[in-house]
Symmetry: C2
Amino acid sequence: MLKNFKNVEKTVFGRGGFDQLGAIVDERRSENDCFTVFLVDNYFEDKPLGQRIPSKPDDMLLFVDIQAHEPTTEQVDTIRDSILKKGLPSCIAGIGGGSVLDICKAVSLMVTNEGSSSLYQGLNLIKKPGVYAIGVPTIAGTGAEVSMTAVLTGPEKKLGLKCEWTVLNQILLDPDLIANVPTNQWFYTGMDCYIHCIESEKGIFNNAYSTAFGDQALRLCREIFLEENAGQTFENDEKLMVASLMGGSSLTYSEVGVCHALSYGLSYVFEYRHGFANCIAFNQLGDYYPEGVREFKDMVNRFQIDLPQNLSADWSDEEVSRMAEISIRLEHMWHHAFGENWKEKINIETIKGLFRRM
Amino acid sequence: MLKNFKNVEKTVFGRGGFDQLGAIVDERRSENDCFTVFLVDNYFEDKPLGQRIPSKPDDMLLFVDIQAHEPTTEQVDTIRDSILKKGLPSCIAGIGGGSVLDICKAVSLMVTNEGSSSLYQGLNLIKKPGVYAIGVPTIAGTGAEVSMTAVLTGPEKKLGLKCEWTVLNQILLDPDLIANVPTNQWFYTGMDCYIHCIESEKGIFNNAYSTAFGDQALRLCREIFLEENAGQTFENDEKLMVASLMGGSSLTYSEVGVCHALSYGLSYVFEYRHGFANCIAFNQLGDYYPEGVREFKDMVNRFQIDLPQNLSADWSDEEVSRMAEISIRLEHMWHHAFGENWKEKINIETIKGLFRRM
């Protein structure tokens, strides 16, 4: 049985596209209780973008804090409860990075599905479609704009809500919005794309579709982060938005692998942001992805990126064990990376060993 | 104002995917008058695929003749009328090449929009959404599986029905279905992808999105039609399906150019099939697309493809004039290829001159 995957319904791509958000939102205003929710990364609260949100007096403009940790089920539930006090929105627009897009996707489902979002972490557990969800990335690389998953950290696990209704209805990709991302952040998030393309290709679920999208995303990443014209340029901002989209699409049929499985453990226990955690982990995975890791190190050097090492010197055995337990539960990732008999190659001790390298 | 483009809603990709068509159709069976229409290229009527159509006793299984000419508005109207005698279908599945997919898209709209389809040739003339439309390509390259257009030849022009409802709701890309396409046909249709990617990139509407998709489609075309492992192989059938999809996507923001404008004239006057007409035209366009045409000729030689030349020796002045008149009306293509002031570079005489080279 092959996947029948749901695409984003509508896409705007191009500079200045953000100015079309108001009109897109207005098309929905007659639905449900006729108000729009804007979920915006609070980083923009005092930035020019924060002043450009096309909210009307009856709308809800919520600035979301995603600096402290990855999105949590508790955070999603709290936002959902505050929205439902006002009613059922006509649509929800998320403006921010992968975290805000995932919160937007999750909240749009949770306004129509009862109970805590932690009840729905997994595949096809959601019972009803959500309200219309719009994603506007302000940093690129995660692929959250096209993915079927809203990754949340819950009381027991870090795992996505995943069903065909999780996919955003509309995305608006405006390269102007990613022009001033701080360099480290630009790099960590861009590497999410690079790393998941490497993982996508090096595993058993990879097929011609994933390869075509993943290869092109990798090629774009090399232009942006490694080759002669690398850097945060006008052209590269555009390329990075497309690379993120294509990298996300490469996962439609394939899977992430070793790095993401470890990264989820790091984020769960130490609340590291996803892109940063990926970079910490990938840096030590030369045994599994030799060319990818070599190239990654070249890119780190090219931009003199801060990438801490020897972190594990300060980690307790208990912390390493907790990370390994979170990590080993991500069976679909290990299965993809090592095949059906992955348990013969990977166990909790191998995983602890990988964390101790970091 | 940037385009807000509609994507195909759902995609199945992979070998054996055709076996999922029955289940996909069944999900819709309670809609409208509860029957499915299968529009199938009549080439398959006595082939194994013709026996695998999952039609039930109450469905309509229509074998469509697309050998004689490109899809016409008359053909679409006739099929529509025959369907409406039975009622409004729950969905329409088109199984065939670009012609059948375009007929499927057009018929799905015309069962809900009154009058002849020739009334709707153009942009956003359609008034109402159609019924659910499913496309199953049996040959790859046209990009019809993802495009917003259903190209039809009408009494006055060859022009697409184009609106966001024209996009297929579901596509099913099974590389097994394109395994036995005759070599010439495989080549002509594959070249539709190659040529529209070249045209997409060489024009003013091209952007980072079009380039990323077009470049990767071109790279795949070179692997399939030119390089060491070129040919109709297991791997290349998969790559060609993805190339077609990506080539079609590269046109979302960009446009076709000189070759397609001329090709429409050839098909209108001589009823040449689209892929063949493109090849006849592109072969003479070295002045406009020098590298592309050089590489195209290498591909023609690699597979010893039948490509007639000196056709124009048998064309009357009146035929050349009619082709040029059809061609020059495709202003968006000339605009893309030569910029806003294209009329300073191209006129009816230049176009006639191009036809006389063929």
